[in-house]
Each structure stands twice: as structure tokens, then as C-alpha cells.
């Protein structure tokens, strides 16, 4: 007998949490790649969850929820990109040890710190790509979705994706070259 979760009241909330909780890390990570900063990434994930909450029963029927959620996140980002490009600089917690600021410089080897600065610089340049380029680089080059997976996920022909990816990579390399810090 098929187990159909009740979708009303408290049971509905619990069912929604059960479905989504295991995907939250993946969603946030992808959102961070798209937006380039934590605040906008959390807002993006939050907005998608708010959209999905009334559709909890539909989510139950989806076989591979992970890629479906990634696609939903991507579509929402692209459709509302202005809302998620608000922050040219990141609001950081003053006590947040995970921020890219180095409180313990004296304990870090120079080359590790230099590498971290280099990555920080690269993130600034990635944030200058247009949203389509940035999100495709995020999905493929950073998060490892293969092109065949992206064809299905984004409903876009392989040739088109390859061209866009090629342009995105070249654009980033141009920005790096102009920047001159690498």
C-alpha cells in the first residue's frame, strides 16, 4: 500500500521538513555559487522554500528530488536575478570564524594566506560575470554537474550549453587577465 503523507497542519510541516532537510546543504551551496555571498544565497534558498511549501504533495511524486530542486533554484535565480545581486560586499558576522578575514595571520603559512587571497580575488571576478555565465560555471565547473545532466536539468541542447560554458570560461579568464593579480 502506498504511504501517502498527510499534508495538513503540523503533519504537513513535518513532511515538508523531512523531504527538504537532506537537500538543504546542496541548495545553499548552489545558491552561494550563483549569488556569490551568503546573505543573498540564504535569501534565494528561503524564497524557493516559500514557493515550494504549498506544493509539498507534488514534491513527493518527484523521483530525483535533488536535480529537480537544483533546477528550481536555478530558474528562480535567473527569473529574479536583480533581487540576488544586491550585495557588492558581504555582510559578515564580527565573530564569524568562517569569514575570509584572517584573525590569526601569524599562525598561517604565507603561501596558504596568499592562496586564500587569490581565491577571494577570484570570487570578486566571478561575481562580475553575467548571471547566466556565473550560474553555468557554478553548476558545471564548481559543483561538478556533467553537461548531459545539465541538458536534462536546464532543458537546453548540449551544443548551446557547450557554447555558453566556453564563453563563460573565456570571459572569466579575460577578467583574470585584466585584473593582473594572478
Amino acid at each position: 500500500m502506498k504511504n501517502i503523507l498527510p499534508f495538513s497542519g503540523k503533519a504537513k510541516k513535518q513532511a515538508f521538513d523531512t523531504l527538504l532537510l537532506s537537500h538543504m546543504d546542496q541548495l545553499y551551496r548552489l545558491a552561494y555559487r550563483f549569488c556569490g555571498n551568503r546573505d543573498d544565497a540564504e535569501d534565494l534558498v528561503q524564497d524557493v522554500l516559500i514557493k515550494l511549501y504549498p506544493r509539498g504533495e507534488e514534491l513527493l511524486k518527484i523521483e530525483q528530488l535533488g536535480p529537480w530542486l537544483a533546477r528550481t533554484l536555478y530558474n528562480h535565480f535567473v527569473d529574479n536575478v536583480r533581487r540576488y545581486q544586491r550585495n557588492p560586499v558581504q555582510l559578515v558576522d564580527s565573530n564569524d570564524a568562517s569569514s575570509l578575514d584572517r584573525g590569526g595571520l601569524e599562525d598561517s603559512p604565507d603561501h596558504v594566506f596568499a592562496r586564500e587571497q587569490q581565491l577571494e580575488r577570484l570570487q570578486i571576478l566571478v561575481n562580475q560575470l553575467n548571471p547566466e555565465q556565473r550560474s553555468l560555471l557554478a553548476l558545471h565547473d564548481m559543483e561538478g554537474y556533467t553537461l548531459p545532466e545539465l541538458v536534462k536539468m536546464l532543458d537546453t541542447p548540449l551544443g548551446t550549453l557547450k557554447s555558453r560554458l566556453f564563453r563563460a570560461r573565456n570571459r572569466l579568464k579575460e577578467l583574470v587577465k585584466l585584473d593582473g593579480t594572478f
Binding site: L21, M24, L49, R86, V89, D93, V126, G144
Partner: protein, 226 residues
Amino acid sequence: MMTCDDILLELDDYLDQLLDEGQRSRVQAHINQCQRCQQSLHEEMAWRQTVRALPVAPASEGFAQRALQQAKDQQQQSHRHNNFLAGFSSAIAAGLAIWMVTAVFLSEPGESPQNTLKTVNIVLYESTKVKLAFDSPRELGNAKVSLLLPDHVELEGFPGQKQISWHTNLRQGRNMLSLPLRAIQLSQGKLEARIEHEGKSRVIQINLNANKPGMTNIEHELAHMV
């Protein structure tokens, strides 16, 4: 027989594993015998590794649970939301005077707080993080942040731009705005950061003094208490 130019054209597909077995073998055979193409391959692999290594800042503590709860609460919140905004407007009006009078600059231990315009030293041609701390009595949703930069300073990633604005949410309590600034001339001038919400605004001004290169990156905090 594949040429080096052919290999360069196929390199992306080779690394993205889009070549069939025959093509892949031909590319591999050329690379095995060509130092120049080996170099190109290694450079491209190193570049891709760098891009993959871009870190993801962890989500704020409890984000997953909070976000899931908020998705449910959002549908019940519109009535409460209107009441919150009405309360906030009066809180801002009361707090404005306190903001301006008690703004303090903390740079050296033991330094007495002063209320005049403070000077922050930044380094010519080097990126310096300048942190501005905003203490907010409540959450401010969709607040507008505006920066007005002096002529001799740029915000990293925004070359040539002197006015930059965006919207953000401020948390209740301390919010730290971390500005990566770069001086492009030896000069000094005023930076203004303005926060606007629901028709009210608050401004922080600091004087930015560009020093010659050779100094280490310095972080200064400008804190104000409300």
C-alpha cells in the same frame, strides 16, 4: 595526425569527457608526445582546480531549520508584518539622535572615543578591508545601503564607480559591512555610507587617507552604539 591547434580546440571536450573513445585516444596520443600540449593541458587543469577550490562560506547557524520554519510561517505572517513595520518607524525616529551622537571609532586599545570625523589609513594600490559596524535595534528588511566614495578610492570589483547602492536585510544586533577598498592616488577624502529604510536614513562618514605601499593591510572598525 592531430596538430597542436587541433588539440587546443579539443581540450575542453577532452577534460569535460565529451569525446568518444577514438577521439580521446588520438588526443591522448598527441599529448603524450608533445611538451607544449602537455603544458597547455596542465595549465588548464590547474585553472579548473582553482575555480573548483573557490570556498563556500557556511550558512549562518541554524539556517536550514530557520528557513524551513520560515517557509511555513510566511503564510501566516502578513498580519504580524504590518504591525512590526508600524512599530519600527517610531523606533527609528527615537533612535536617530542617539546614533549620531554616540558614534565612536575604535582603533587602538585605550583610545578615547571621539565624535568628530575619523581618519582611516588605507594603502595605495593595495586592497584594505575597512569594516563598518551597524547596530540595529531590530531586523530591517530590504534596507538600502549606499556608498559614496572619494575620488582617490575604489571599491574592489567596481573600478571607476563612485556611487554604489544595493538592498540588503540587516539583522537585529551588530551587522558588519566589510568594504575591500583600494586607493588609486595619494590623497585623502571622505567616504559616506548611508542606510535608508522606510523613509529614514542614517549616515556614517569616515576620512580615508591613502598611504604609500609597503604598509601591511590594516583593518579599522568604526562602531556606533544605539
